[in-house]
């Protein structure tokens, strides 16, 4: 395991032990005890899934150099011209 991978695993464990209950308490959600273990494992798996996205943005390999992405709607800007991409 590389240092980087080890650090990620530590982060995942930290979520499980400390941050997840804190976050849930802040959220106002009363999470049943039976959910906590499943939730922490799922969150760690999701964090591993999302890690390449953060890495890709950081190292530029997935960066997007187009216009700002404030428009989070996936509707396409040229739809009013009947699906033409020219505008």
């Amino acid at each position: 395991m590389t240092d980087q991978e080890e650090w990620r695993e530590d982060q995942a464990r930290q979520w499980e032990q400390d941050r997840l209950p804190e976050l849930l308490a802040l959220s106002g959600l009363e999470v049943p005890d039976e959910d906590l273990q499943v939730l922490s494992e799922s969150l760690a798996a999701q964090a591993r899934r999302a890690a390449p996205l953060l890495d890709g943005l950081s190292d530029g390999s997935l960066a997007w150099d187009g216009p700002p992405v404030l428009d989070l709607s996936p509707s396409w800007p040229s739809a009013s011209s009947g699906g033409d991409f020219s505008s």
Binding site: L29, Q46, A50, G56, A63, W64, G66, L72, F85
Partner: protein, 463 residues
């Protein structure tokens, strides 16, 4: 009833012809579909609620209108059903959850209202995974193989149309939830452009992904329903123009992109063979197939899951706080997980989603594409006895891109595996260019008979 003795071959279009010619009344047609519901429900459990009396009442009114010469169009008297996440003013909307048990909204969803205005007859509400989350196991069975999963979350829509207990159905599609059950049950499913159909009165789950979709037996039928749903979503940033309703080109000029992303090692060999055969069919029609590279699609699942979870958690925050124990635990946990997604992950997902969308726009433009073509799903239906919700992510890679980009996408039945599971062919189109997808589907279905195959159900005697 002789005119509809071949009930299993009925489509929206053929039923509309029977109604228009006076060979069948709306009451007869609805009574016939209610008979099919009684026969098939014990086996497939596609419906959450059947409105026997309301449907017949509406059918009588439709017949009176037609007798006065006031038929409203091709959907006048056509029986259909909606996923139980659409508000209906006269029947419960429970979304498969105890959270909404007994809830009857004050008004119809905009899509339901438009179909009522078009004269269509609502038969009832269709089963769904709880709040369309895809985590629990609704009772719905696959129309072709009872032990297999029917696909979700619009499971009831795919199954009801496949067995003929509705001639058409509305569902919702945020991660393939219309196309998956349509493909796995051998029918047509359209996810229109994001914002193309109003979501007013549809229980929200994923604000930037949710799209109202249509399921029917033929592409022609899907087009007839889509034509009646002309009211765009208020959240749409742009609206379709009238010229967008016409196909862009003649069939012989159509250009379809083929990307390695959709033909990788995850694609089942038998599904691949059905798609190859379909592509040869399109080649014979003069459609040009163009290889294209879409490297950003490799991030589809990481981006899609992150957005999917976070938006679902946000949508349910209030009920999660107030009524956590009324959720199925599997649904609750995934919603809680969504609430815990780090903001940095979500921002990264939105940014890379913009890259995916930009790449698709660029490739469509540079290669002058009318669409992308792929299998709808890489795998045939899964055995419910040996799989869990966690296995279902394997069904997402080909359907999720169109949700992330907002493009329209359609699935057409294109064959079967050796075990008898239906396979689906997917086209992803240009924004607001649903008509080209429907044209492709209509032409394909004029040359093939996959859409005429019916599930080998053991029916219950007529009640």
């Amino acid at each position: 009833m002789a005119a509809i003795s071949a009930a299993d071959d009925l489509t929206v279009a053929s039923a509309a012809d029977l109604l228009a010619s006076g060979k069948v009344s709306a009451v007869e047609l609805v009574e016939d579909r209610l008979r099919v519901i009684r026969q098939t429900e014990p086996a497939v459990h596609a419906y959450a609620y059947v409105a026997f009396d309301l449907a017949l009442h509406a059918a009588r009114a439709a017949d009176i209108e037609r007798a006065r010469g006031a038929a409203r169009g091709p959907l006048h008297g056509i029986p259909y059903a909606v996923k139980d996440v659409f508000f209906t003013r006269d029947m419960p909307t429970e979304a498969g959850s105890r959270v909404l048990a007994g809830f009857v909204p004050d008004s119809d969803a905009a899509a339901v209202r438009q179909l009522r205005e078009a004269g269509a007859i609502l038969l009832g509400k269709l089963a769904t995974h709880e709040f369309a989350c895809g985590q629990n196991d609704p009772p719905t069975r696959n129309a072709w193989t009872a032990e297999h999963r029917p696909g979700g979350s619009s499971a009831g829509a795919g199954v009801a149309v496949a067995v003929g207990s509705a001639l058409a159905a509305l569902g919702t599609d945020a991660g393939g939830s219309v196309r998956k059950p349509a493909a796995l049950n051998g029918v047509v499913g359209l996810k229109p452009t994001y914002g193309r159909i109003s979501r007013l009165g549809v229980l929200p789950l994923h604000s930037s992904l949710d799209t109202v979709g249509v399921v029917a037996r033929t592409a022609e039928d899907v087009g007839l329903v889509l034509d009646a749903l002309s009211e765009p979503d208020p959240a749409a940033w742009s609206k379709p123009s009238s010229e967008a309703s016409e196909p862009r080109r003649l069939q012989s000029k159509i250009r379809l992109g083929i990307s390695d992303y959709f033909f990788g090692s995850d694609l089942n060999d038998e599904i691949r063979a059905t798609v190859d055969t379909a592509l040869r069919e399109f080649g014979a029609l003069g459609v040009k197939l163009v290889p294209v590279a879409l490297p950003a699609l490799r991030q589809t699942l990481a981006v899609g899951f992150t957005i999917f979870l976070a938006e679902a958690g946000a949508s349910h925050h209030r009920w999660l706080r107030e009524r956590p124990l009324d959720y199925d635990p599997r649904t609750r946990r995934v919603l809680e997980l969504g609430y815990c997604i780090p903001a940095a992950h979500l921002v990264a997902a939105y940014e890379i989603r913009a890259r995916i969308k930009a790449e698709l726009m660029s490739v469509f433009r540079s290669a002058r594409l009318d669409g992308l073509v792929s299998a709808t799903l890489p795998l045939p239906s899964a055995d419910a006895r040996t799989t869990t919700a966690a296995d279902l992510s394997k069904f997402l890679p080909y359907v999720f891109p169109a949700n992330l980009s907002g493009q329209p996408a359609i699935t057409l039945p294109c064959g079967f595996t050796s075990a008898g599971s239906p396979a689906g062919l997917q086209f992803i189109g240009r924004p607001y260019d649903e008509k080209t997808l429907l044209r492709l589907g209509i032409d394909y279905q004029s040359r093939t008979d996959w859409h005429t195959r019916r599930p080998p159900l053991t029916l219950t005697s007529d009640a």
